[in-house]
Symmetry: D2
Subunit: 270 residues, 4 copies
């Protein structure tokens, strides 16, 4: 068992040998998240060094991959934004509740940017300030598109991530357009009502990222707007359910351990 | 000349007498922002006490109201979200560049909530956390709809405000759907290239709220997404261009003063 | 067993009856922290309603009260500032390393102020700002003085708490005056080297509050200044080691449970 | 006229030639702040390249250097911590109100660390956290010591700077030991009551850094503790009164301009 929490490129270099030696891998980088080498290479701007492994890699959105995970040798741990978005959209895609023209607006704490020092990630540059980024295209968009397609839908998606002055947490606001909020809520409840790490809140609830910080939880709320549109809100801790927490959850499933082992911390709030 | 920076209700009670005595009013509350008493009463949940003044009140989106402001007795200073949104959308509405199904996602610092103590506005509840609010309908939506209609468009609009852990600043992300970003940029540049308080940034620029904090500026950027959609970003300081700053700007216009008087502070960054 | 996490006054009203009915109490309020009713009444400004219980109450600075806690019926859980300060100063008081004229400067997150809404505790009032408070005398001063005396020293102490723009965490800077930093470090190491919740860091280490947030840890560092003075730094999470965490630790000791039960979460950083 | 806002070392290299060409310099670096080359070299760890200019350099604590500034060719703009501390202590040193064993505890926003990217200055590392630094000796200590000596006192000083999760602002807490708070307040009022940039607040006032952010103000408050000690609190914006603002003020004096020119912005609060 090996976690590979690396810059893109390292995992693909090391994976073949590690697998050959009997390791099972949960890769925290983006190397094996996209199934088509062509698309990976377009978004990551270089040749994929282990394209033959892409077909085998299991996309580790834990609640939706339990079967394949049991025998998986190579697991691609999902990105933080895709985790927050796909957990909310997978049931809707499956149940035919997604229309064309989805708009996803996500807010993230700064820890998603890693620890490599950069002037634009310094405290003084971000304190009290908000900004969008990835406006020319964020690498998590093809991952979201692939995921939604996997669940049976293929809407055009406009996705924009933003940085807010918080260290942790992702808040995704998914505008579904006109629709029936009750149906959307039922679809989510039907799938997730027994999940230990997903809380579909009562209709009209107000999630906040501090409700999940420090925990492996994803909390999802459904809202009907005065104009008849449906908005789905999804919050996670980007470093736990959006990264290391989900990796542990995947490992637990792979090895037949209790799925919640090591992941039972509640959120740290306030 | 009188600023009325009050809770909704006070201005409408006092305005008739004040106008009769010769005062000219810039009202910072929401009492005179909506032109139809019926709509005002629906959103504010009580009878309007001075409905006969609604037709006279000038909606003080300064750059677009200079003519009427000169003689105005009663000016409704726009709300903070509508200011950030309408400055970006007015030229596009006029130029026929708005399609149906607009999605507006706005982020605001907490100072927009005023100083009345509430547990949910305390430091500990908001530090490091983000949340949406007004999900069942925010009073700035009818103001945005009225404004866009005034400029000649009537798209369905989905608007959701969010609170982020900052004291000041509004960041509005306006998803226009598929379109021609260059045309959108041209439309904005054509109108605003000489405005002292509006900066239409070069195509693809990255505004942040700390670029405008402490100033009366609105900065607007246009982006084309990889999927062919157009996104417009607009940032203001909610307490200046979104409130007191615009009120002073309106007063300057009303009294024939230099429009920038008292408003020349640059942003405080970092 | 009962936790009483209440405003001052409630615990003293209810304690006699509860004890009579066989309850054992860990009181999170300040009602039983000071042993002398006279001093309590001076600082809290009202008569003490259960002064006869003061002699019995065990001051629950857990690492220093294990013996008495085993049989205690009534435990006064220490205040947040006194916990951070006394854990650092108890060994030094006992070993004769405290001189007169101690200066203690503490920084606290805003959660120490509770959840009662107050304008001066709102997000907008505290974001990006620092201030001192309790300048005319903070109720934790007599608690610190009593503790230091208990361990055998009675220096004059100047204590000033400050609020910083963080939700959690206490950072106490204790200026000991001229002295031998190595002796101070040895004194602390000698007592605490096996404690699960106290980390005496290597000489010259730099603690930060985010090293303990979400955990029951106290981390202590010793520094020698260029001028020959000694400074001791102590950090805790005010809501855990400074409140509920220490209460659980005390309960574990009272009932013969594993002292670390329920308290093994590591700090949430970043 | 030249501002030299540079890393230590650059100003001393360029100053001789610039002065020869007739420039007048306000140096924002630390190159000319200490009058003795020996002390400078000890704290900055390298030879001083223009030691012959040290005697000529005017230490630009503006309110105390107006005479020398008028003809000054080379002005050393004071450091941010020394400005906050010396403005409060200069009158007290002159009036014999400083005893031995001063303890100065200062809090600073992160912008004092400059914009060079460092992991320990990233947003995620500092959000919600406080820490001390410079524990082995901060370069502003000899500057404070030199200043206090200049005003006629030579107490032993223990100075410790801390970083708090704010972008701007310095909060200095100066523990004077036992004394007469009223005399201290009078001493400050006597000197500063007419100063445009120094506000000696009424006895017992509570300054906060957000009262000065964005302005060139220093606000000072005096407190008597229950134990009979005196504490002086001093707040400035480290980037204005603690750097560029004071540099402009010095320049105004040097050139016979209105001393407040360009410095009249009020604080940005909240």
């Amino acid at each position: 068992m090996l976690f590979m929490a690396t810059e893109s490129g390292v995992a693909m270099d090391m994976a073949p040998e590690l697998l050959a030696s009997g390791c099972r891998i949960v890769d925290l980088s983006a190397d094996f998240r996209l199934r088509e080498a062509r698309i990976w290479e377009k978004w990551y701007g270089k040749p994929h060094g282990a394209a033959d492994l892409l077909a085998e890699a299991v996309y580790g959105l834990a609640e939706w991959a339990r079967g394949p995970l049991v025998k998986a040798r190579l697991v691609a741990n999902p990105g933080c934004y895709p985790t927050s978005v796909l957990l909310a959209m997978a049931p809707l895609a499956r149940d035919g509740l997604l229309q064309d023209g989805l708009v996803i607006n996500s807010l993230s704490g700064t820890s998603g940017g890693g620890r490599t020092p950069r002037t634009d990630m310094m405290f003084s540059e971000n304190a009290g300030s908000a900004r969008a980024y990835g406006t020319s295209g964020h690498r998590h968009l093809p991952e979201i598109e692939q995921g939604v397609r996997f669940f049976g839908a293929s809407p055009a998606i406009s996705f924009l991530p933003h940085l807010i002055p918080a260290s942790r947490g992702i808040f995704s606001t998914i505008h579904l357009g006109r629709g029936d909020a009750a149906l959307v809520h039922e679809s989510l409840m039907g799938v997730y009502h027994n999940e230990p790490f997903i809380d579909v809140m009562p209709m009209g609830s107000q999630p906040a990222t501090n409700m999940v910080l420090g925990s492996n939880m994803c909390r999802i709320a459904v809202h009907a707007t005065p104009g008849g549109a449906v908005i789905v809100l999804s919050v996670i801790d980007n470093l736990l359910k959006g990264a290391a927490g989900q990796a542990v959850q995947n490992m637990n499933i792979m090895f037949g351990l209790q799925e919640t082992s090591g992941l039972e911390a509640v959120a740290l709030m306030p």
